[in-house]
């Protein structure tokens, strides 16, 4: 098997649900050895979160869990017991990273604060992901996805002005935190090599959002000028096509090609050369001001064509256009199929299924085919007997005592 980018890195993964597991999934997908530690009996609570394969609730049939935990080894360990903590410290000696996303009081409550971990393994990086961070007055607040999205600055901008703001659904904030934590963790590992010692990395889900490009844009805009981004009466960028909708920017936008070039391409696409002499649309500022009238000219052109046809014709003229896709269309999209983004993973509980893959194609260190998410305690024997030298009798005793 060809070497992978992270094959020399070992991760002890205490994470659960989404934010932590997405961080460790990225590390695992690029070849790190990730040992996922779950409480005996129930395991990671995500095992009980749908959607389930064939709508059958089962700890090995949660689509969320299966997706998030590919390429990880799975063991059980009860950190609420002194013996569990002792065994954890044994595992800790040989790893580079510990990732956890418990509420901030929990790890110190186990006797496993960063200071305690560093006593056992001075090089270890401890990545701690939480809703609001390890410090501060909201540190112990509870949150779900909608809470987190609301408290950073974007929900206030999302939706209609005269109606309630809308959240993004799913677990968007949590995945984001996992994504940024993986980057910080890699840097932490490299820093530990530089300095000869590890450290703790505190990742707050809310601050991860505020620190995105969009977060910085909203915050700095307000700080510099007092202008606040607000909800509007709708968006002029999503427009009806014959068979659905397209993303289509008629007036031009700040991040696209230079406005006049963009405008002449659009005029050519619509085959309306007379618009070039139309005062209402002569400049970017004019088009923005008269966008309603401009859209009235553009809409008929769009509603006569399908979203894929609009995209094809527009892209040929170098006009930005994209179809609004539903999830089935994304999975079956010819581009995603050609790039093999959705990959087949076989799991004993479900058989082969297509999963979202991982996003970077590395030429020297291609990702190997994904291994399925572990069943609860699947690798107990391999880790406890194989690596730590516990006998079969020991494992029976540990199981009976509820340690594993």
């Amino acid at each position: 098997m060809p070497d992978t980018a992270l094959s020399d890195i070992k991760v002890l993964d205490l994470t659960h649900h989404v934010a932590g597991p997405y961080c460790t999934k990225l590390l695992a997908d690029y070849g790190a050895e990730v040992i996922k530690v779950e409480p005996p009996g129930r395991g990671d609570p995500a095992r009980n979160v749908g959607p389930f394969y064939r709508d059958e609730p089962h700890p090995d049939k949660s689509g969320l869990f299966l997706h998030l935990n590919t390429n990880k080894l799975g063991i059980t360990l009860n950190l609420k017991t002194p013996e569990g903590v002792r065994i954890f410290k044994e595992l800790l000696e040989n790893v580079d990273v510990v990732v956890e996303n418990f509420a901030p009081r929990v790890m110190p409550g186990f006797g496993l604060s960063y200071e305690e971990l560093a006593k056992v393994n001075p090089w270890v990086i401890m990545t701690s992901i939480s809703n609001f961070g390890q410090t501060g007055p909201y540190r112990d607040f509870v949150a779900t996805e909608i809470t987190l999205y609301a408290m950073e600055c974007h929900m206030a901008q999302t939706g209609l002005l005269d109606r309630e703001p809308i959240y993004l659904g799913g677990a968007i904030s949590q995945y984001l935190a996992g994504n940024t934590a993986a980057l910080a963790t890699m840097a932490g590992i490299m820093g530990a090599r530089l300095q000869g010692e590890g450290q703790q990395i505190d990742v707050s889900i809310v601050e991860s959002w505020l620190g995105t490009g969009a977060g910085i844009a909203s915050l700095t805009k307000y700080i510099y000028s007092g202008l606040l981004e607000k909800r509007a009466s709708g968006t002029g960028r999503i427009l009806p096509a014959l068979d659905g909708f397209v993303h289509f920017v008629a007036a031009g936008a700040g991040a696209g090609p230079p406005p006049q070039r963009e405008w002449s391409r659009l005029v050519k696409l619509l085959d309306m050369p007379e618009l070039l002499d139309d005062e209402r649309f002569a400049t970017f500022a004019a088009r923005s001001e008269n966008v309603g009238e401009l859209l009235n000219l553009v809409r008929p052109w769009l509603t006569e064509r399908t979203k894929f046809e609009i995209t094809r014709l527009s892209q040929a003229e170098r006009v930005f256009a994209a179809p609004l896709l539903t999830v089935d269309e994304v999975v079956n999209d010819p581009h995603n199929v050609a790039r093999g983004f959705f990959e087949e993973v076989d799991h004993p509980a479900t058989g082969p299924l297509r999963y979202p893959g991982a996003p970077a194609k590395m030429t020297e260190t291609p990702r190997p085919p994904a291994r399925p998410a572990p069943m609860l305690g699947q690798h107990n024997d391999e880790m406890y007997s194989g690596r730590l030298g516990y006998s079969k009798i020991d494992l029976v005793r540990l199981r009976e005592a509820g340690i594993i």
Binding site: G159, P165, L219, T220, T326, E364
Partner: protein
């Protein structure tokens, strides 16, 4: 510990708009030396619309000028807030890559760098004579991250677009929004750009980790359109497992109820509340004063609450509308019920938690004055990160990099300026 984690690595920020440059900013935050390459011929998109005095009347109207106190100044492109904030911790030079001397200097930079991240359209670097074969010939250890909108391969590789196009292509718009499913009511976002940036930075570090073992650099192809797709994983799994195609649910949730956004006292004032299970429901009822309706059978368990949320939500709103969002948060958080206000930028600036966390820092920019800025968002306990410098003014570090790093003489640098291969002010061409 005195050295930042990525100290000693040099990164070329060779991209544009947001995704690539943002990824480079993150590497700069972590201690890498980052050099952003722009040009005086072609406007950097994130520096805003106003380039030369000629463009001003024709560009965005003054009501939307985001410059300090609304004043563009002599060089508005050096006073754009989002540029200055999101290009922190990096140096900036200009090079005309349409000129052979500009290409030559770029190659000299590659020779002494570790990573390049670029997010131009597929094939642009090849056309410039900067394809991976050329760059790795100059520097076998170079890690090249190439991140066009839809990647370097595939039938749509030539497609162009922005972050909001990716929002449409990801399927996310079809999964969120008001429950009537009308996608024209919700502004598309450009979240993919930031996710792509952090993914590019992560992939670059993974490649450096491999290089440490083997000495080899590599070429990494990333499609911006793919980086966000795993963030919708469970929606895709519901399709591949069960053939189900997700739809918007407003602020409702597949299993939790109540779950939503409720009006509070004052204009455009909202709080979000989520009650994850029956135990939380009991605490919620008590926290809001045990009103009679809350004890009714039709709200007794999660399934019933979900089925009756059309009646439940207005009843809750009768309680929230009398209070501020922060008061609701305090009362419900004391009962361990997830509640949080919908906050805008103004409210975030005075958020007591973020203040205590030191999330904002005061910094002075060469041409934009002194303002608060968001700091790098991870907290490393032994090597704290900070804003070491704000986004560079155009060509700010030309002398330092071309002279100091590449060893050009003052005369040579003067000649480059004279030929407009480098510079610090946009030419009229930048408006085209």
């Amino acid at each position: 510990m005195s050295r930042l984690p990525l100290e000693g690595f040099r990164v070329i920020d060779g991209g544009d708009v947001l995704a690539g440059p943002y990824g480079c900013t993150l590497l700069g935050d972590l201690g890498a030396e980052v050099i952003r390459v722009e040009s005086i011929q072609r406007g950097a998109r994130w520096r805003g619309q106003l380039r030369t005095p000629a463009t001003r009347p024709a560009s965005i109207s003054p009501a939307n000028w985001t410059y300090p106190d609304g004043i563009p100044g002599e060089r508005p492109y050096n006073r754009e807030p989002k540029y200055n904030g999101s290009n922190r911790n990096k140096m900036g030079i200009t090079l005309n890559l349409a000129h052979p001397r500009g290409i030559d200097l770029f190659k000299q930079l590659v020779a002494v760098s570790d990573v390049i991240i670029e997010n131009f359209a597929a094939g642009v670097y090849e056309k410039l004579g900067l394809g991976y074969e050329v760059l790795s010939g100059i520097n076998p250890g170079i890690v090249v991250v190439s991140m066009p909108l839809l990647g370097n391969t595939g039938p749509y590789r030539a497609h162009r677009g922005m972050g909001t196009d990716l929002d449409a292509l990801s399927g996310h718009i079809s999964l969120r929004g008001y429950s009537d499913g009308d996608p024209t009511k919700v502004q598309p976002h450009y979240h993919s750009d930031s996710v792509s940036g952090m993914t590019a930075a992560f992939a670059a570090l993974a490649a450096l980790n491999y290089r440490r073992r083997t000495g080899k650099g590599q070429f990494i192809d990333i499609s911006e359109g793919e980086t966000f797709l795993p963030h919708l994983g469970e929606a895709f799994m519901d399709y591949t497992m069960n053939g189900r195609v997700g739809r918007p649910m407003g602020n409702a949730h597949p299993t939790m109820a109540p779950h939503g956004c409720y009006r509070c006292q004052g204009e455009d004032s909202w709080v979000t509340i989520a009650v994850p299970n029956d135990q939380a429901w009991a605490r919620f009822r008590h926290a809001i004063g045990d009103p009679g309706w809350a004890a009714e059978d039709r709200f007794a368990d999660a399934v019933s609450r979900r089925n009756n949320q059309a009646e439940l939500n207005p009843l809750i709103e009768e309680w929230t509308i009398q209070r501020s969002p922060w008061e609701v948060m305090r009362l419900l958080q004391a009962a361990k019920v997830p509640a949080g206000p919908v906050q805008n930028a103004e409210e975030i600036l005075v958020d007591p938690h973020l203040k205590a966390r030191g999330f904002f820092d005061l910094a002075t920019h060469k041409e934009a004055g002194t303002h608060l800025y968001p700091r790098p968002s991870w907290k490393f306990n032994k090597t704290p990160l900070s804003i070491r410098m704000l986004g560079p003014v155009l060509g700010e570090h030309n002398s330092q990099i071309l002279g100091g790093l590449l060893g050009l003489s003052e005369a040579e640098i003067g000649e480059l300026e004279h030929q407009q291969i480098i510079g610090t002010e946009y030419l009229a061409a930048a408006d085209q």
